[in-house]
Every structure is written in C-alpha cells, then in structure tokens.
Amino acid sequence: MTTSAPVELTPDQLADQAASRWARALQVIELLAANPFGLGGACIRARSGPVRDEWVARLKRALDARGNVRWHRLPLATTDDRLLGGLDLQATLAAGRPVSEQGLLAQADGGVLQVAMAERVTSSVAARLAAAMDAGLIRTERDGIQRVDEARWLLIIYDESLDGDESPPAALLDRVAFIVDLTDVSTRLAGVSSLGAPVRMSSSAHIAAPTIGDKRNIVVDEKSVTAVCQTADALGVGSLRSQQLAVAVSCTAATIAQRDAIIDTDLALAAQLVLAPRATRVPELREEPSEPESSEVELAPEPEHSADAVPPPRQGEESAAPPESEGLDNVPDSEKQSDDSTMSDRMIEAARAALSATLLRQLAEQLGGNSAPKGAQGRYGRERLSQQRGRPLAPRRGDARRGGRVHVLATVRAAAPWQSVRHELRAHRALVGTVLLPKLLVEPEDWHVSRRAFRSETLTVFAVDASGSAALHRLAEAKGAVELLLAECYIRRDQVALVSFRGKIADVLLPPTRSLVRAKRSLTALPGGGGTPLASGIDQAVAIAEAARRRGMTTTIVFLTDGRANIARDGTPGRPQAALDALDAAKRLRAGGYTTLMIDTSPQPQDSARLLAEAMRGRYLGLPYAAAPVISAAVRAERAKMVKHP
C-alpha cells in the first residue's frame, strides 16, 4: 500500500495500462451517449491526433445513433457579441428596427459544444459557459436587446496542455463529469492507423447503447450517496458538483444495464471515471472513511482547483484492473463493519486502480508536506488579466478617418432617433420618389469611434535563494517583500510570482498571481535548506518571464541570493561547474532583455553576485541585512524606472 517510490513498470505493464485507459475512455462514450445532457460532458486530455480523433468519431457515431446531433466549435477568440448574441446589425438595418441574433452558446443548444485548447480559455469565457450550464439557459442583456435562449449542450473540452503548467479553467472542469486521459494510448490500440484513417470501421462495438433518458426512474438510495461522498472524501475531492456528477453517472450506468437501482458496479465505475481523475490525495483503504487524518484535511480547502492543478495520469503507469477483477496490490479488507463502508471501500479500490502511479507519487510528495500544495495553485489570476487588457470605454463621437474603429452600434444608435425627420427632409429635397432612399440615413455627426483603455501590466518574479544556513532569515525577508508588493499590486492589477531554489532544483512556489489569498498560502509553505542550484533558479525565472511576455506583460526579475552556486544544472554538486552554469543561465536571461535586479544577500557582498548581475546586465544591490520594506522599496524604484524608459 505504500505509494512512494513507484516501481519502474515494464513495457508490457505500460501497454496494459494504456489499454485500460482506452477502455475507460470508451465507457465514457457509452455513458455520454446514453445521457448526453445530464452529465455535463467530458474533458479530453490529449494532444490533437488520430487517437483523439478516433475517440471523437466514436462519440459522434454513438450520439448519431440517438438522432442527428449538431457539433459546434467554440473558437478561442470569441467575443461576447458572438458568444452571447446581441444586435444583428444587418437584419436591423434591413428591417429598420432592432433585430437580435443568437449567440454561439444558444445556437449550440441540443448539440455538442467543443472547446479546443481549453487550457487557453479565459476565465471570463469559462464563467459565461458555466453560467449557461448551470441554468440551462443563456441570458443576453446586450446592445439594448434582452433575450433568453435555451442552452443545453454536451460540453467536450480538449485539454492540450503539455504538463501541469496549464489546465482548463476550473469552472469548466468542475461541471463536466469525465476527465478522459488519452495520453500514450497508441493508434493501434484505438484501432486507427497513424495516418488517421480508421483501420476497421466495424470496430465500434462499444456504441449504440440504448438511450433511456436520464436518471429519473432510478432509485438513488442514501447508501449509494453516502458511499460516493465517502469515496470523494477519501480521495480529497471536495467539490459537491463532482459528487453529484458521480451519482448521476452511476444512475446512467444503471440505466444502461436496465436496472432500476444503483449497484456496486455502477458506483465503482463512477469512482473510476469521475472521482479518480480529480483525486488530490492517496486513499487509504483501512482508514475510517468518515474521519480522515487531520493532515489530509488541510489539503482539501480548495478542492476544485486541485482538479486542474494535479496533472492527469500521464506517464502511462497505471494499474489495469477493472473493478471486478480487483486485487493487484489492494487486498480488500475482508472484515467489513457495515454495508456502507464496504460499498465505499469498493469504490475507493476502484478509484485507486484508476489512479496512475505518477499521480500517486505526486500526491505522496505533497502529503510529505515539503512542497506547497499544488492543489492550491490554479491559474486563474493569470488568465483574468488578458481579459482586463484593453478595457473598452464608452464609444465617443468622432471621425473614423482620423484613426480608431467605427463603433457601428453607437453610430446607428446616434442616427436612429432622427430617421423619420431625415426621411421627410430627403423626401422633400428629392423631387418626386425617384430616388430610393436607404432605410437608415447616417450623417457625419452620427459617427462614433470605439475607444479602449490599455494598461500595460507588470509581473515581478522573485527568485529566492532558499539554500543553506542563511535561508530562514532570507526567506522571511523575501516573504515580507513579496507580500508588501502584492498588497500594492492587487490595487494596481500587477502580478507577482515566486521561484525558490534549493537542494537540487528550482520550484515555482507561486505562479504569477495577484491573489493575496493564494500568495500567502504558498509563502507559508516555503521551505529552506540544502544546496544552491542557481542556474536552475535563473532558468525557471526566465521561463516564467517568457510566458508572461507572451501574455503581453512587462516583467521584472528580482534575485535574492548570495550568488554562490554549488549545484550545477544537472543537479550534481560542484562549485566550478555550478558557477559556469549560472553564468550561462544569466547570459540567457540577458538575451531576453528583462529588467533584472540582483539583491546580494551575503553578509559581506562579494564578487560572485556582482559578476552574475553584470552577466545579466541587471542592477546590483548589496543589501546584506535588508528588511522587507527596503527590498520592496528597491524593487518599486527599479520598476518605476523601467516603466518610464521601457
């Protein structure tokens, strides 16, 4: 039952596990086809490729067996007027009165809505989708139009993120029942050639399940619900929505099997397909399910974020056991006290089987308490920002020829009240009705141009040397400085990130954020001690800065270190190599052209940090015993300079 130190798996075992993953993916199709609008949908973790295409094709066939289902795609850069609907200008002008049009969300009603590259979807788009999913309706209050449309769809989101770095918005993950992982599923397994064409069209044995509506005629007894909740608790899945979806999935499974009550098998299936992918902790079978250890409870405060932050099973190390043929390493406890706990124990076993060894290891590490709980690090703060950029201001009267875009709606609005007057006037001027007048008469004074307010956002990346004896002292200062900066930042909408390097590698303790809540949580967990992997710290800081630059932010990097590296990039100890690597990393940073501040924290300022600062073309500050306010003041001053001379 030990979860640490996973054994290296043989290729055979790997293949087995990929096979079971594919089998589960096919079960998801069956369930979705039987109850397309009751389960939210699914998140597919896979890069675009033949295997994913095959899965989608199978889902399509399964749904088509129900009747014709339309498929819609949500483009990434959809604006609100297309997403939610609004004034249909063409029709409005033609008809001479306001005509509204449906947005994409309303058009997709009764069909499938696909969101590609869901990890790039902004939180505001996600919130609009989520609101519509909750109500089954889409409300539009835009452009003088109000309308309510039905909007019930099967949501398929494609998570194409590379690693734990990015993930789809938690608001969406929380509302789809399934998280399907297709990583490492081979094309052969999926029955497609690597060129994409299906090898055997008839291989779709899994589809066309009888469709029998949703759960309405299935009995949901308290025992099953309790089992679901206990399992969720054991796995550290806190979101009530996931638990509700797990119940719904069990019902659907029972419906497919034409039973009128949920049995263990259905619950086990729900545990594997719904709960296991969201696990934030390793379930312990023998533990009393209703009383989790206190150390584990602490992991669970923001459970819905954990779903996105814990990377899905990726390495293909997964035990292949379906619930019935259980018992690879989990020997079920034969003495069960009550029926209840038997049920949830079986569910937990099933869920365990679906957890990959990688995930188990990560969870075990987190439980060890040495790194900040990954579960607490969503990526929300970041995404909100791009939405904030270029906030549109109210359109203003003006001439589009002098720059700016015509704000058509404002122009039409301005012109609208005068139409009857203008028509009369023109009719007078044009002799007899020989001239066909346009419906809408727009005059120069009607023109409105749109305006936008841009604010360049800034990100400050702190790279803190958490190594060795002075670490605790430095860390306290760094924490203080970060919090002070953050306290201002969230007023100004600036962001802060924190990298700490110690031992063998650098960790991103705090991805770019302006959330004080999250920052504090990460900061309290900042550990100290060990070697100084300076090169790796610099690399990590640059990686964050690059990502931020792609999002259009201006970045300052602040190092708090004594500059004495002793761990090389590859994690081996040794000062000479470590120093060379650090210099190399510093040069790379310079190539990026980031504003850099090197705060030398050694008791006697020395050349190593200064040289490094020169290599980075950064500013060097010897602040041996700097207190938090001094550091934050220095950073502010540096940033102010940068804003003046970008």
Binding site: D80, G96, R142, H305
Partner: protein, 353 residues
C-alpha cells in the same frame, strides 16, 4: 427556470450566508451582501431561493419602475405627478424581483438607454429602463462579481448606495428610483476585489464546501430529490418556507420600531474603533444588521448579543489590509470582539447558540 426554485429552508448548512441574506431582506438599507467562496456551494441557489421566500410587494399598476404606491419619497417622476394630483392609484401585488446580471451585459442594458425599437420604427426618443429599474425594491444578483468589468461594478455600487439611477446619455436625461439589495458572489482565488469596492457591500460572508460526509450526503440527496420532482419537493418544504416567510414579514414590520439603546450604539462604536475600520459605514451597517437580526428573532430590543453575532459579517471586509498578518480577517474580528465583549458576552453567546 419554469420549475419552482429550490426552497430556501431546504438549503443544507451555510448558516452564515442564509442569515446574511435574511438580514438584508429585512432591512435593505443594510446594504448588499457579498458571498465569497468555493464553487458549487449553493451561492446562486440561495439567492434564487430567497426570491421565492419573500412576501409579495404592492406596486403601482402601470409604473415602469415598480414604485410603491404607499411611499411618497421614492417614486419616479410619473408616480410623483400622479400622487400629487390626488388621483386614486391602482396597485397590485407582484413577487419581489430578483434580477440576474448576466456576465457580458452591456452598460446600456444595465442602466437603461434609448429605446432603439421605438427610435428606429417611429423616431420617438424614449427611455428603455434597464436592469437597475427592474430590480427596484428587490435584489440584483451578480455571479462572479470579480469578473465583471470595473466600470460596471462602480456604477452598480454607486446606484445601490444612492438609491437613484441617473441616466445622461444619447440625449436622454432620466432619473428614476432604483433601490435594490446588491448581492455579489465570487471566488477570491480568481483575483480579489478592490478594497474600495469591498467596503461598499454591507455584509460579507465566506462560504466553504461542507466538510462532513453526512452534510454532503444531505446536500446531494436533497438536490437529487428536487431535480426529480420539484413540485413534490417544494410541497414537503412548504411549511418550513411559510414559517420563514411569516418570520420575515413580521421582522420587516417590526424592524423600524426597534429602539437602539445608547449602550448598544456605544458598543458598536467600540468595536469599530478597536478594529480600526475607516469611516462610519461599518458602524451603520453593524447597527442596522444587529437591528434586523433582533427583528428577525422577535426580540424586544437590540442587545450586545445581536451585535456580536452580526459583527463578523458586517466588518470583516472593512479591515485595513495587513499583508504581514497571516490571520484571516474573520479571525481578527473575532479577536477584537472577544476583547470588547469580554467573557461575559461570550457566555451569553454560548447560551444563545
């Protein structure tokens, strides 16, 4: 949406949120309610449920802004003219409005704008009331308030505070009463609200996912029963709902008559000074919320115990940010309350609880 909403009384746990909503419903002058917390904790459910719980209100027939025929102070221009003319005013009962502000709503629909339809078809310049007018005397609910554009939030809070919507755009100059309780919800992990904005909400509550298994089971089971048979479910809870509704009506009638003793006022001031909250808004809210609570519980007068029970929700969002203090704001309020009240009041509280 056509279904009966989830009964307020059937919401499992989340007592602080329910209490805050009830307090705001008793006395709208308490100010809005801000609900921050985890996803899927029934924030929207509670607000919608509240709508169904509220007793119906009397409105002037034909008034576009839903004016109260009895009140003379807050009526729109047309009603004011009508009232001063001494004509008999027809009125009818309608449910209290709970208006959703959907994400992506544009400013013109929020504050109201030129009626495009009328303008385009008949060339008439007329005002089309927006969501603010619709929510007059009711509730305006904003889900994910931290995703709403800043200028819209500013505008909403301004109107909520002044009780009047002033529209000056597109050649229109309109003002109409818009007294509503602003209810915002959001997730603090997605970015925080500006402190200026936090302060404008009367009460603020934190919600978390229920931690115990039996509670979760109850939530899921009730939800499940409700989804299967909304009508039957509502019927089961009807008595509890009716009781709550009566309590609410009674409290609304009584709240104006409850006296605040000097001792209680002094206590409120003490608490606010000890916490270092800026401005008088904190004290006002604290007193009004305490009074609402007393009215809700049918108490004869407002006491320290009432103040104490609402102090956390009335004040926790008004504290000066102290990034170096790790304790959450609720803890800080608790700390000060213990100091101000001493042990004697805590004992009272224990009895009351």
């Amino acid at each position: 949406m056509s279904n009966a909403p989830f009964p307020f009384a059937a919401i499992v746990g989340q007592d602080e949120m329910k209490l805050a909503l009830l307090i705001a419903a008793v006395d709208p002058s308490v100010g809005g309610v801000l609900v921050l917390g985890d996803r899927g904790t029934g924030k929207s459910t509670a607000v919608r449920a509240l709508a169904a719980l509220l007793p119906k209100m009397r409105v002037t027939t034909g008034c576009r802004y839903g004016c109260d025929p009895a009140s003379s102070s807050s009526s729109c221009n047309e009603c004011a003219v009508l009232k001063s003319s001494g004509a008999t005013i027809k009125s009818h009962l309608t449910p209290v409005p709970v208006v959703d502000l959907p994400l992506g709503a544009t400013e013109d629909r929020v504050i109201g704008a030129l009626d495009l339809e009328a303008a385009l078809t008949s060339g008439v310049k007329s005002f089309e009331p927006g969501l603010l007018a619709k929510s007059h005397r009711g509730f305006l609910y904003i889900d994910e308030v931290n995703l709403l554009e800043d200028h819209l939030v500013d505008l909403l809070i301004d109107v909520a505070a002044s009780g009047e919507n002033v529209v000056e755009r597109e050649g229109l100059s309109v003002r109409h009463p818009a007294r509503f309780v602003l209810v915002g919800s959001g997730n603090p992990e997605e970015g925080e609200l500006r402190p200026q904005l936090l302060d404008r909400f009367g009460l603020s509550v934190d919600v978390t996912t229920p931690k115990t298994v039996p509670e979760r089971v109850a939530v899921i089971q009730r939800r499940d029963t409700y989804e299967r048979q909304p009508a039957e479910f509502a019927a089961t809870w009807k008595r509890a709902e009716d009781k709550l509704r009566k309590q609410l009506s009674a409290a609304r009638d009584r709240v104006g008559m409850l006296a605040m003793t000097d001792a209680v006022l002094e206590r409120a001031a003490q608490i606010c000074i000890a916490l270092g909250t800026d401005g008088l808004r904190g004290e006002l809210t604290l007193m009004r919320a305490g009074r609402s609570l007393a009215a809700l519980e049918g108490a004869a007068k407002v006491t320290d115990v009432h103040l104490r029970r609402v102090a956390t929700m009335a004040l926790r969002h008004r504290l000066r940010r102290d990034p170096l203090d790790d304790a959450g704001s609720s803890t800080r309020v608790e700390r000060v309350l213990n100091e101000v009240f001493g042990d004697e009041a805590s004992a009272h509280l224990a009895v009351a609880a």
